[in-house]
Symmetry: C2
Subunit: 336 residues, 2 copies
């Protein structure tokens, strides 16, 4: 016990009561929802620690300037691209919640991958609209992608990516990982750099995007990259919509009817993820979209909030927090 | 080489030219499509071996009575429930093509299972109809089923069922198999008999039907069995539609909106599988249907025809064919 010389501001209601009690052993806990503007004015200078989900509108750049004691921000979301790094002092440490959603989001990636490979959505919709007959189908079958003995590219081999890869082996797929770090995973081939990315995209029958959104990864999938991929490949995105160039993707789907894009994540409009798109993706048979439910399916287990609380306690106890990110990678033209 | 004392009748065009040439080393090969009614009359009594896909309309019970030399029927379809056992002499041996489609159909089962677990079809359709917003979803997530550490029941643990079970371990699921035979599979719990079935259904979070359609398995999933299952369980059918009671399933889906039924196979109308149903399944959000493409996706690889040809050659060479079925199990009121 270090007493209550810390002041923690929690800006979300996803932290349960038990965790709040535990946190209050190590700090004075303030809940943003309980504070009026005047009360927030009063305590701002004392707050040294922030526990956030999505970035709260009240914490404007002006407000952040008054938070002169701030040293640590913990995200309950897996990524930190919503943190306004450009407005933070250099001595503020930011931790992501990497790994907290790995199992649930990796499962979801496989749900999208197989829905696309087996054309489940397209066929179900065809049946609903009475555009398919049994006879027509029973003669064919080559429209269905069989994944066994094929190559799965995983872009970003962190918590989510490595679980996606582990599941792939149950399907008898070979895994090609595009990753800055090699891991000790057996049976996974590692690739890095621009030429490594190119190799993974050219060879893969299906690709899962599991990268963080940083200045280096924003729109990493552009028209040039798409043109390197197989004409009948499947691209799955469970990371961030902005990893993919919207216009290039639409044009690629129209030009390549056997290419499939299945995504749970969407492009940003006015710095926020939005279901509004510039192109009518949902009218294409080779597009599958779901409204960002993979993360929430993890959140519902309670584990992401719990892990974020545990890491916050590391900071409050004077230990080095896990999952500290490099702010330089997030000071970009994508401030969301 | 045994000369050409065998007469083989092939009733389908899914056997490739190379296989036909190989077969003609061991028998005189007749293709039904090349024969007029008179020619068929001429050779019927000499045919000792049949290689069939779906049962051909020309081979009526009258025609079968004239095929007095018939000794062996090989199915290229996995199941044999389409063979008219009641019209066959006792000395006719029938072989299924069990195992020939295992990998492709097991993958397809997982496509349906995850589409249902992650509600991919339902969410995609909601987005198309603009019935969903990002905000609504981001608050929740519990509507998505996480499969890790859950129990998967596999009814029928033959070729397809055991591959379904192998994939399940990559997802960290525990497998409960309902099967007459135990296999040497580690980490799989085996159950048999009516009480075993009951246990599997009660405990499972998801169930895959991979049974052959026989007199013992027809409508094995009825209202009583459904009532034993968890209210939010997922039932996947990649075997035969008639394993499930149609009325009971519709009523169960309406009464239990969190229960999900995902099927690639359909009920029979006039002895043939049909997309026509007695109840409007496709209007239910907790139903996913695809037009029997799992088998064809295997057929497209060429392997099922090849394996059927290899087994036919075993018969022609005087060896015991594999996958011989017990005709007693198929002499039922489900003659399809």
């Amino acid at each position: 016990m270090t007493g209550t010389n810390h002041n923690l501001l929690i800006t979300t209601d996803v932290v349960d009561e038990k965790s709040l009690r535990t946190l209050s052993k190590y700090s004075k806990v303030h809940k943003l929802a309980d504070l009026g503007e005047d009360e927030l004015d009063e305590i701002s200078a004392s707050i040294d620690c922030l526990l956030v989900f999505s970035w709260p509108g009240q914490l404007t750049s002006e407000r952040l300037q008054t938070m002169t004691s701030l040293r640590f921000i913990q995200s309950i979301l897996a990524g930190v691209n919503h943190i306004p790094f450009a407005n933070l002092n250099k001595n503020v440490v930011v931790s992501s919640n990497a790994g907290a959603y790995s199992d649930e989001v990796a499962e979801y990636a496989w749900g999208l991958l197989l829905s696309a490979a087996k054309r489940v959505v397209e066929l179900h919709v065809s049946l609903r609209e009475q555009k398919w007959t049994l006879r027509r189908t029973l003669d064919k079958g080559s429209e269905i992608t069989v994944v066994k003995e094929k190559i799965l590219g995983v872009l970003g081999f962190g918590g989510i990516g490595s679980v996606v890869g582990r599941i792939a082996r149950g399907f008898g797929m070979q895994v090609y990982a595009f990753s800055r770090k090699k891991s000790s995973e057996k049976e996974v081939k590692f690739f890095a750099g621009a030429s490594g990315l190119s190799k993974v995209l050219k060879k893969s029958d299906a690709v899962v995007l599991a990268l963080p959104l940083t200045s280096q990864t924003a729109r990493i999938i552009n028209s040039e990259r798409l043109s390197e991929m197989k004409k009948d490949a499947i691209l799955v995105n469970i990371a961030r919509g902005e990893l993919v160039d919207e216009k290039a993707m639409y044009e690629h789907l129209v030009a390549n009817p056997n290419f499939r894009y299945a995504t749970d994540v969407w492009w940003y409009r006015e710095s926020r993820e939005s279901l509004k798109t510039d192109y009518p993706f949902l009218s294409l048979p080779n597009f599958i979209g779901t409204p960002h439910v993979s993360g929430p399916s993890g959140l519902a287990t309670g584990r992401p909030a719990q892990l974020a609380v545990e890491n916050t306690i590391r900071f409050l106890r004077g230990l080095r927090p896990r999952n500290i990110v490099d702010p330089e990678e997030y000071k970009t033209s994508y401030p969301y």
